[in-house]
């Protein structure tokens, strides 16, 4: 215990200048972790801490200068641009939003309007879209999530509302876990979170792959942004430059996201 007291007292009172705090979207978070690890491997003096919170946290934190870098997984709204005029936006990657189901469902293709009707609650049984006669369990993100905002804008056309009966989970990871373990469930997730525990559904016959998305065929794609309170300086600028470099963008595409360079 005494040791711990000593250690705590030794903690510097403020962040070192070579520490970069990154906050925001849980979609960008795992990518940012990897980009941070890769950067620190060659620049051991720099420490980058990445934490979640959600896209809106990313925007407000960066806008208010609470962090060095904010993360957002959607377009920055006009209102937010006006609220934080000096905030700089760096699109580091693009990301598709995949529609996934529990592997037991067996439905492999849905039209965009079917997806919309499922999420509004107008379609409630898988048999209505060619699946088994089972009730659909809709899983969604909570309000404020960038993935949800992007999904609402692109699939729900900004007007249709996601059913209140949806299971809400506070992160992409939690959504994947829930869909994987809940029979007859459906959800939307970032491409970067797709794995074998859930089944991807083609939308309008187009499979959710990076190739289809970068070719412009897959219909649900949104930007992933890094936000800085002002023009980036020093270590922050160096890290952002690394992200946009070929090495950084290679990590982006390795993780299933779409590079922007």
């Amino acid at each position: 215990m005494l040791l711990a007291v000593g250690a705590a007292l030794l903690l510097p009172m403020s962040a070192r200048s070579s520490e970069i705090t990154v906050v925001g979207s849980t979609t960008v978070q795992p990518l940012a972790e990897l980009l941070a690890e890769a950067y620190q491997a060659v620049n051991p003096g720099v420490i980058i801490t990445v934490s979640g919170g959600g896209s809106s946290v990313g925007v407000t934190s960066a806008g208010n200068g609470l962090c060095d870098v904010g993360m957002a997984s959607r377009e920055i709204k006009e209102s937010e641009r006006q609220e934080f005029p000096s905030m700089a936006i760096h699109v580091i990657a693009r990301d598709g939003i995949a529609i996934v189901t529990n592997p037991g469902v067996g439905v492999t293709n849905l039209s965009k309007s079917q997806v919309r009707d499922i999420f509004t609650g107008d379609i409630t049984n898988w048999s209505e879209v060619g699946g088994p006669d089972q009730d659909i369990v809709v899983v969604s993100r909570e309000e404020g999530s960038g993935t949800r905002a992007a999904f609402e804008e692109m699939v729900m056309e900004g007007v249709f509302l996601i059913t209140g009966a949806a299971v809400l989970q506070p992160s992409n990871g939690a959504v994947v876990t829930t869909v994987a373990s809940t029979p007859y469930s459906i959800a939307y997730i970032s491409f970067g979170y797709m794995n074998e525990s859930v089944a991807a559904v083609s939308v309008n016959g187009i499979a959710p792959t990076a190739a289809n998305a970068s070719a412009g065929r897959y219909p649900i794609v949104r930007p992933l942004c890094m936000l800085t309170p002002g023009t980036p300086q020093g270590d922050v600028k160096a890290w952002l430059d690394f992200i946009m470099s070929p090495d950084g963008q290679a990590i982006v595409s390795d993780e299933g996201y779409l590079p922007v360079q």
């Binding site: 250690a7 903690l11 990445v50 962090c67």
Partner: protein
């Protein structure tokens, strides 16, 4: 007088007592199965490297828990550094000074203090999280950090510390104080040399209770600590406590066995906290005067 047969009444008693036996057995069974399940699933995952390596791999939930142990320790220490002096000071004041202050300014103040401490003890922890997030994270610009989280945590355990300090002091016999004062000691000397030493075990118990509270609290730190699994490097670093790690592992990854293992470590910590409290209170009953 019409009479119920003693045999019938004995039968009723036997029935009632067997129901009580069953409910107690069932309670123990339910609780044991929860703890047992987590322990049995978790303990096989434990090895030295689990304790010495940090988590990695984001969603796959690989790695150990070293950085979460460090973050938990930092948080416990920082919380106590804030809450202990304030809480003990306030407790000493309320018991040793407030009683004798009967002027118009102090009396309502002391009533408010008592009421506030009582009320706060029943407030759900998420309200401390809400408060901590709004005040420390955003308004004071501390961000998601150990600093914000420990200040919120200090608010959470402050009522516990104040109340246990008060109780410990009230348990010190009045004759000790009278004895010391009659020898010409000042009030502070009496407190420092006579009252506080006898109250140390009780106050320590309060501190340990606070430690247990911080180790097991999740909601407050979910909204103030940020959740980064990097080892914290400054008081403004984000971090992830063990309890928070269990939450993230369970919610975000499918690494349930790692979550169980971390849960098992948490349970072990709580057992250690309980043993510590028992040890302290045994000293309290065995030889309270020797402190």
């Amino acid at each position: 007088m019409s009479s119920r047969s003693p045999a019938g009444r004995k039968l009723v008693q036997a029935g009632a007592f067997s129901l009580l036996w069953v409910s107690a057995l069932l309670s123990v069974l339910v609780l044991a199965s929860v703890v047992g399940y987590v322990m049995i699933k978790g303990i096989p995952e434990l090895n030295l490297s689990f304790f010495t390596t940090p988590p990695r791999g984001g969603l796959s939930g690989e790695g150990g828990i070293s950085s979460t142990i460090v973050a938990t320790l930092y948080l416990v220490v920082m919380t106590l550094l804030v809450a202990a002096p304030l809480g003990i000071g306030a407790g000493v004041f309320l018991v040793e000074y407030a009683e004798s202050m009967q002027n118009r300014l102090m009396k309502p103040l002391i009533r408010i203090a008592r009421f506030g401490v009582e009320t706060l003890a029943g407030v759900p922890s998420i309200i401390f999280g809400l408060f901590g997030y709004a005040l420390f994270v955003t308004l004071m610009h501390f961000g998601f950090s150990l600093l914000s989280a420990s200040l919120a945590g200090a608010c959470l355990i402050l009522p516990v510390v104040i109340r246990t300090t008060e109780e410990a002091l009230k348990a010190v016999p009045q004759s000790y104080r009278e004895g010391s004062l009659s020898l010409g000691a000042t009030r502070w000397e009496t407190i420092r040399r006579v009252v506080l030493p006898s109250a140390v075990p009780g106050i320590t118990t309060g501190m340990i209770l606070g430690v247990g509270r911080i180790i097991s609290e999740t909601a407050v730190f979910y909204v103030t600590l940020g959740g980064s699994y990097r080892t914290p490097t400054s008081i403004l670093s984000s971090g992830r406590t063990m309890a928070l790690h269990v939450f993230y592992l369970a919610m975000e990854t499918r690494a349930f066995e790692k979550a169980m293992a971390t849960g098992a470590v948490l349970i072990a910590c709580i057992i250690a906290v309980n043993l510590a409290i028992n040890a302290v209170s045994r000293r309290l009953t065995a030889g309270g005067g020797r402190w």
